[in-house]
């Protein structure tokens, strides 16, 4: 159950450089050079919300959308936020020059292919946030990159315009058909994988979508890497709340912390069947499950 940790993880006060609306979301840019310099796609930041005396103690974790380590204002970090609760409303209500305590980068980045294989990057809603940065790194390595962006409706898509520049091909789906193909990302994914002969699929978004991405990728003989959005209290590995059942190299299932062992996992290692209706149960064969039957 151990993650590997860097010697030091930066904890900084990031100055908000800009806060702009993008569809149903807000894109926030913070000056945080220590974070920007070492971050990789798939990693996340944990933000304190509400100031020093806030009644909302738990950190809010966001996938890093992009970094500009050499920005003239000092290295910057961008996140994409949906204002849904007290913490995200506080963040999206901030103005330029406000300071936010940021810890990061945290978690394991997406693994990158050794060879220049074709890749499909799939994002649900604003889960697509880290994929554009990932796309540019994959293209630098000579990979052909396809993107599939899906959401319930047009307003909930993130980065469709950006995708055109980041990827070699873009497919958009909406549940209501307001943009692109009417349906889910999993409806179009088999064809995109086949057409591009992709060997790897990267996905970010809700659990149910990550499960279907994994199923499709596996059926098409591609490897799926997914970044999960489990709720976290600390983001740094101490609270034990963001666990999920994942199969290890030894074939054993463990309840692992998505903040330190993830948030990126090989899709075929996740015990998807344990997730149901917003709850995740502990599989009976998981390490230490037997000891829980007492209480």
């Amino acid at each position: 159950m151990s993650g590997t940790f860097p010697e030091r993880t930066p904890q900084v006060t990031g100055e908000l450089l800009s806060n702009r609306r993008v569809g149903a979301y807000h894109q926030l840019t913070f000056v945080a050079p220590d974070v920007a310099e070492v971050a990789e796609p798939g990693q996340f930041v944990a933000m304190a919300v509400g100031g020093d005396t806030s009644a909302n103690l738990l950190r809010r974790c966001f996938s890093i959308h992009q970094v500009s380590p050499r920005d003239p204002d000092g290295g910057t970090v961008d996140i994409v936020v949906a204002a849904r609760g007290a913490g995200t409303r506080w963040l999206t209500g901030l103005s330029a020059h406000d300071g936010v305590n940021i810890i990061g980068p945290l978690g394991r980045a997406f693994p990158l292919p050794e060879e220049p294989v074709a890749a499909v990057l799939v994002g649900g809603g604003y889960g697509s946030a880290p994929l554009f940065w990932l796309a540019s790194i994959l293209k630098e390595r000579g990979c052909h990159v396809e993107m599939v962006l899906g959401a319930a409706t047009t307003k909930r898509l993130f980065g469709v315009a950006e995708a055109g520049g980041a990827a070699d091909g873009v497919t958009v789906t909406t549940d209501d058909g307001s943009t692109g193909v009417k349906g889910w990302v999993s409806d179009v994914l088999p064809d995109v994988i086949r057409r591009s002969q992709a060997g790897v699929v990267y996905g970010c978004g809700p659990m149910a979508m990550l499960r279907s991405i994994t199923d499709v990728a596996t059926a098409e003989c591609a490897i799926a890497h997914v970044a999960v959005e489990e709720s976290m209290a600390c983001g740094v590995g101490v609270c034990m709340t963001c666990v999920m059942p994942v199969v290890g190299d030894d074939g054993l299932t463990r309840m692992v912390r998505s903040c330190v062992e993830g948030p990126t996992f090989r899709g075929d290692r996740v015990r998807w069947e344990a997730f149901d209706n917003g709850w995740c149960r502990v599989p009976e064969d998981a390490l230490g499950a037997a000891a829980m039957r007492g209480h």
Binding site: T9, S54, L58, A233, T241
Partner: protein, 338 residues
């Protein structure tokens, strides 16, 4: 650990350079400063060591370990609450054998002073865990043992040990037997009892060298979208600044009983909702000799070190030269309000 006296030079006051003696002696457990992590809020050290040197803590309190590996409960495991949180983890952990071989060995390698937290589903399991711990190779990193008695007792229909003075005393006596005399043991008390002084008495009379107060309070949150319990375990432990007044009250009551001679005098480690040095000072003034920081770590990973600095500054502000002079001081000032 030759030199255990530490003086903190406060940074943010006008009298730069003044020093406060922050050292503590908890039933023979001598520590350079009073700040500790709270069990279950700091994992087993590696995670926080990238934010500060955990050897700087008075002591590192490990996540409660039981005999066997435990997966913990399903998710969701937590809900944010006003100035706090509810958690239902289920004591996830590697089991005592892996703990001593990997976690305790690592803590020793970085020079941490370890207050090891142990538990069991039966009094015998507590003793078995303490026994493995005491025979482990890295045991010399252990400065004390905290007995987490807020565990369901399978022999008594799952009633937690901490709610029953006899069951609590059984556990403490058995653990005491398994550990060398120079290792003090601390019973961690639950506030969810009718009379916490009775439980404190049972533990101290059974051989606890000190008390840790308080564990979380049992609470529950309903998800109003789905109209069902928000955590998979249905109920959970409430922690954070919201429960600090309960900690202050419990420490006050037990310290008052000690001062009255109703129960034997024993050091109290205060825990519950501490976020700042001023919060820590409340627990100290009520009777705590040392302080643990728990949920505040989730907000600020280096909170224990910051609280130590802030507590030293607050003590200096009030004119104290030594932390020990402030322990329980509020009990001497009642005549000012009566």
């Amino acid at each position: 650990m030759a030199d255990v006296t530490e003086t903190v030079t406060t940074r943010d006051t006008t009298t730069v350079g003044a020093t406060i003696d922050m050292s503590v002696d908890l039933a023979g457990m001598r520590l350079p400063n009073p700040l500790m992590t709270a069990s279950g809020c700091a994992a087993n050290g590696k995670e926080l060591h990238r934010f500060f040197d955990i050897a700087e803590l008075g002591a590192f309190v490990t996540k409660t370990v039981m005999r066997d590996p435990r997966s913990g409960r399903g998710t969701p495991r937590m809900a944010e609450t006003p100035s706090g949180m509810l958690n239902s983890i289920g004591l996830q952990g590697p089991g005592i054998d892996v703990f001593v071989r990997e976690d305790l060995a690592w803590l020793k390698s970085v020079g941490a002073r370890v207050l090891a937290s142990v538990a069991g589903s039966t009094a015998g399991e507590y003793a078995a865990v303490a026994s493995v711990l005491s025979q482990s190779e890295a045991f010399d990193a252990v400065v004390g043992v905290e007995v987490n008695i807020s565990c369901p007792n399978v022999a008594n229909r799952g009633l937690v040990f901490a709610c029953d003075p006899l069951a609590s005393a059984d556990v403490i006596a058995l653990v005491r037997e398994k550990l060398p005399r120079h290792i003090p043991i601390f019973a961690k008390l639950s506030p969810d009892v009718t009379d916490i002084v009775e439980i404190a008495r049972a533990c101290v009379e059974a051989g606890a060298d000190g008390l840790t107060m308080i564990n979380t309070l049992l609470g529950m949150v309903i998800d109003t979208d789905l109209l069902r319990p928000q955590v998979a375990g249905v109920t959970g432990g409430l922690s954070g600044p919201a429960i600090r007044p309960v900690a202050v009250r419990a420490i006050w009551q037990v310290r008052a009983a000690m001062l009255d001679g109703r129960i034997p005098m024993a050091p109290i480690i205060g825990v519950g909702g501490v976020r700042t040095g001023d919060d820590a000072l409340q627990l100290v003034a009520a009777g705590a000799s040392a302080i643990q920081v728990g949920t505040a770590i989730f907000n600020d990973p280096s909170a224990p070190i910051r609280v130590n600095r802030e507590l030293a500054a607050a003590l200096q502000d009030k004119g104290f030269a030594r932390l020990s002079d402030a322990v329980g001081v509020a009990h001497t000032r009642l005549d000012q309000v009566r």
